[in-house]
Amino acid sequence: MNNTETIFELKIDETTKNNFKAVSLWAKINAVVAFISIGISIATIILTAGMIGADAAGSLFGQQFIAMSISILLNVVLLSAAKNIQKAVSFTDQGAFNKGLGELARYLKIIGILFIVASILVIIIFLFLLLVGGFGRG
């Protein structure tokens, strides 16, 4: 109980509340737009199937499936964080605030892991291109 009192010096003032309202609204829009984007991707694959054949489209869908699953997971977490933070700011609900920040931390953790994987892949591609002479020869 004692250590809870020292950290209470930080509070969410009006400026931060307004920032939180904007962050949660934009995060919500971001998540909804991402869901629309997934829907469009699926529609594009279905339409492409007519041109490239069902087998090739199936393989394309297989490749996209992992990316779509990660995107859905990420945006469900983001949406949940945004909803909880919005609720917390509107009704001064400490429980929802904590839950929202927890979801935000989870979202940033997933993004962090994805970025680490992406940067490793970029470095590997760069090294590969250096080795095969893909750079500097046009």
Binding site: T4, K11, W26, N30, T44, K109, S119
Partner: protein, 148 residues
Amino acid sequence: MEERENILSDDLLIDPVSGGYLRESTSWSKVTAIAGFIISIFFFIFVYQYISMLTESRSVFRRSGPSGQEKLTAVFYVLAGIIHFALSFLQFKYAGNMQNALRNNDQGSLIAAFNNLKIFSLIRMIVAILVVIMFALILVALMDKQSF
């Protein structure tokens, strides 16, 4: 007495639970930002390579210059790299300010951190909307192609 009043206040507070989550988000934001910087640097190297390839092919094939589409692609890649770098920078600043706020109980840094997060979310939202518009245009073009 003062602390007791604070605990019973109606304001939202950074309590140990939310403080823990903010610490976690700070460390992950820093990791993401550093990885983002690395990706941006390599991205710029790839873009530089792409532009020099265009210039080289221009001199080899004695063309008047890169086509409009090639120029547009190069500009698109440069813009994407700049936006990616800016997002990583904002995330890094958010992490730094939040770390300072939590370590020193600095209200100013807390406000600055959430301001960084606000700008970060705004840019992310704009990029997401632009990407979805681009996807929708591709879908419309495909549908158009299928109808003919």
